[in-house]
């Protein structure tokens, strides 16, 4: 076997694959072979590096060099310069936007410096389609240790002591969940991995599954041992084809090595994992709806109790954990709960993965210790607001969460502090908004989503979210009154109190939270004015009578004939007919048309 002197890691996450990282891999293989270096250099496809903004990304070891925005055409130059002559390809290095300096090593980049990767530990480091690479980084050691030396109670105690809380949104202590399922009477029990990542803008679970599928399989087996289950199900949305493919490969390889199946590690413990595809309904992320969908029924939630821990899949005790939660399990077993307790804040231990999106410079996936402030995430890691604009707010928790404003930029982020300021952790989507974002439109966007995703089982959600959406629509069209505004608020409160499941109960949050912090903006819409000029219907073009020379150029251009006036006299725009196309503004020779 040849000894490789270089490893080229090419990002094989969905984002970089969409920018043809497969072409990069293919070109590397061809060119290296052609130049006779294929025995010295290994090219691998790995998981998401997180810096999606700069993708496709490649990293070269042992030089520890990080190239960004690489195209298949750049490969020849990288081979000629870097691989053959040991010279870095300067133009492909990441340039720090503040220092205006090229940065060689990943660890020196401000995007990575504040990060601590536990759940994402292997993403970008291993080839996810090779179980031996996972094993080389202590993979399956936690499962082996647990089966050899620990009782299920020991495992549960470790998880309770670690204070790991559910990363899917609710933040329920994972150890307790396992304990309930362990104590529940029943000969057949189930572990379900919730991979139905439905929040708009969230992609952390997908990236973990694509970049490190074995970490989830291993954790499911550990959970199975802890509660006494022999079957694991992964409920994954069918829109994640790459994650599904990597999971299938991982399950096959684990079975081949005897790490799944009968008598794992020579013990009496048997465990198998099956995939179950979801059709992408948002409500199926709610555990009771998810279980119903897994059973082949309509994806509708039901009342709790009974909790899934006592009566879940097929009426048997079932434990449902989210992908990111599971990805934390093996490191906790290996390093001990005390290690995990030292990371994060008092009540929220460990790290959280956030998907940064929106009006931010560095869109991507980041993992930081709990208690990191929003300012650090937005400005240090995220590189600030795109186009040098001012920060307005961040939406966390997706359609179930709320906005965090400038005033709370320095709040340390954990489960409790976010709840205290009217938002929630959610799965970790973080949508950054700049000064040009209209808060009423944002609330409308989320309500449009929830009213469409409502399963229709309970009235408050089915009808309530629709009516809330209609009020918001009215506001953005300038047709709402102050009475509407008060009714809207009241309606939000009652939907929150009366809906059946988490989806409905949290659906009004985007409205309530924006109303709390941006009430003025709502009132302005009632007065027919959108402060950020995002609501098109509220804009009006006018003509400055003093500047207008009555040339009629605008009259000829106007597609709806809404401009009138005598020749050489000032003209006027009929706002009721105007479609705000801006044609008059473009054509006016004396800049008399005032753009809103």
């Amino acid at each position: 076997m040849s000894i490789y002197r270089l490893n080229i890691m090419v990002c094989g996450g969905t984002g970089c694959m969409a920018s043809d990282s497969q072409g990069i891999v293919d070109n590397f293989k061809d060119i290296l072979k052609e130049k006779g270096y294929d025995q010295e250099v290994q090219v691998l496809k790995t998981g998401c590096f997180g810096f999606c903004e700069q993708g496709p990304i490649i990293k070269i070891h042992p030089d520890n060099v990080f190239y960004v925005k690489v195209t298949p055409e750049d490969v020849e130059e990288i081979v000629d310069e870097h691989i053959i002559k040991g010279r870095r390809v300067e133009r492909l290095l990441y340039e720090d936007p503040d220092l205006k300096e090229k940065i060689n090593e990943q660890s020196d980049m401000s995007f990575y410096k504040p990060q601590l990767r536990i759940a994402l530990r292997n993403c970008g480091l291993i080839n996810p389609e090779d179980i031996f690479e996972y094993i080389a980084y202590r993979g399956y050691e936690a499962l082996g240790t647990v089966l050899k030396n620990q009782s299920p109670e020991d495992v549960i105690n470790t998880m309770i002591q670690s204070n790991l809380r559910g990363r899917g949104g609710g933040g329920f202590p994972t150890g307790l969940k396992w304990k309930f399922a362990n104590k529940a009477p029943g000969d057949e029990k189930y572990i379900i991995c919730n991979a139905d990542e439905g929040d708009p803008g969230a992609f952390m679970d997908r990236s973990i599954l694509e970049g490190d599928p074995h970490s989830v399989l291993e954790a499911m087996a550990i959970a199975g041992y802890a509660i006494g289950a022999e079957t694991g199900l992964i409920y994954i949305r069918a829109e994640y084809p790459l994650a599904i493919k990597r999971l299938e490969i991982a399950i096959d390889q684990a079975k081949e090595q005897g790490l799944l199946g009968k008598n794992i590690f020579g013990s009496d413990f048997n465990f198998n994992i099956k995939l179950k595809y979801g059709a992408g309904a948002f409500v199926c992320g709610e555990e009771t709806a998810l279980i119903a969908s897994t059973e082949g029924l309509r994806g509708e939630p039901r009342n709790k109790p009974p909790f899934p821990a006592t009566s879940g899949f097929k009426g048997k005790p079932t434990n449902v954990n989210n992908v990111e939660t599971l990805a934390n399990v093996a490191p906790i077993i290996l390093n001990g709960p005390e290690w995990f307790n030292k990371i994060g804040t008092e009540k929220s231990n460990g790290t959280k993965v956030f998907a940064l999106a929106g009006a931010i410079n560095n869109v991507g996936l980041v993992e930081v210790p709990m208690g990191t402030t929003l300012r650090e995430i937005v400005y240090d890691i995220g590189g600030g607001i795109r186009g040098g604009k001012a920060f307005k707010a961040v939406q966390t928790g997706g359609p179930s969460g709320g906005v965090i404003t400038t005033k709370d930029l320095d709040t340390p982020i954990d489960y409790d502090s976010l709840q205290a300021i009217g938002s929630m952790m959610g799965s970790g989507g973080m949508i950054v908004m700049d000064e040009d974002t209209c808060m009423v439109s944002i609330a409308k966007f989320y309500l449009d989503f929830t009213q469409e995703e409502s399963c229709g089982k309970c009235t408050p959600c089915r009808i309530g979210t629709k009516r809330i959406f209609e009020y918001l629509e009215k506001l953005t069209e300038g047709k709402a009154t102050m009475d509407d505004l008060h009714n809207l608020k009241e309606l939000c409160e009652s939907v929150k109190d009366t809906a059946l499941c988490g989806l409905g109960q949290t659906a009004p949050n985007p409205v309530l939270s924006t109303m709390e912090y941006y009430w003025d903006e709502y009132v302005a819409h009632v007065n027919g004015h959108c402060p950020t000029k995002e609501c098109k219907a509220l804009l009006s073009y006018t003509i400055d009578a003093e500047k207008c020379i009555g040339c009629t150029a605008c009259v000829k251009k106007c597609p709806v004939d809404c401009i009138s006036g005598e020749r050489k006299e000032p003209h006027v725009i009929d706002e009721a007919v105007c479609i705000k196309c801006g044609a008059c503004y473009d054509v006016c020779p004396v800049d008399a048309v005032i753009k809103p």
């Binding site: 000894i3 490789y4 002197r5 270089l6 490893n7 890691m9 010295e40 070891h61 042992p62 030089d63 520890n64 053959i84 002559k85 040991g86 010279r87 660890s107 480091l125 291993i126 031996f132 690479e133 094993i135 080389a136 980084y137 202590r138 993979g139 399956y140 050691e141 082996g144 240790t145 089966l147 050899k148 081949e256 090595q257 005897g258 790490l259 199946g261 590690f265 020579g266």
Partner: protein, 128 residues
């Protein structure tokens, strides 16, 4: 084939750790060997030297030693050049390190921490 015990897993891991060892980055504990791989180096056989270094390190079972290719160090008269960086010690630049000197370099300097005087280019070379 199936893994039947934790010990078996550990053995399998040991075998595969080598394949990923290139990806470990720890500047405080790793010994780094920098091989000059510019045109002058390549022409004098730096590529062969580099590959021989890797082979020798593997044969000796050395861990935590990293071989990194770099550009021209400016000593074109003594290519191929190899700079040895052992944490906590001064960097030593050797040249010409031809394939036949590699074994000696690894044994004497890397394993026994003995400087091979006759092969040193400039002993006062400060750490990069």
């Amino acid at each position: 084939m199936s893994i039947k015990s934790l010990d078996e897993l550990m053995n399998i891991r040991k075998k595969h750790e080598e394949n990923v060892s290139l990806r470990d980055n720890d500047n405080t504990s790793q010994t780094k060997l920098l091989v000059g791989m510019a045109t002058c180096g390549i022409a004098s056989g730096a590529r062969e030297t580099l590959n021989e270094l890797l082979k020798e390190i593997k044969a000796q079972g050395l861990e935590n030693v990293k071989v990194v290719q770099v550009g021209c160090l400016g000593y074109c008269h003594s290519e191929p050049t190899v700079e040895v960086n052992i944490p906590g010690q001064d960097a030593i630049l050797y040249g010409p390190v031809t394939v036949d000197r590699v074994k000696e370099l690894v044994e004497r300097h890397i394993i026994n921490h003995e400087i091979i005087e006759e092969l040193v280019i400039n002993q006062n070379f400060d750490r990069a």
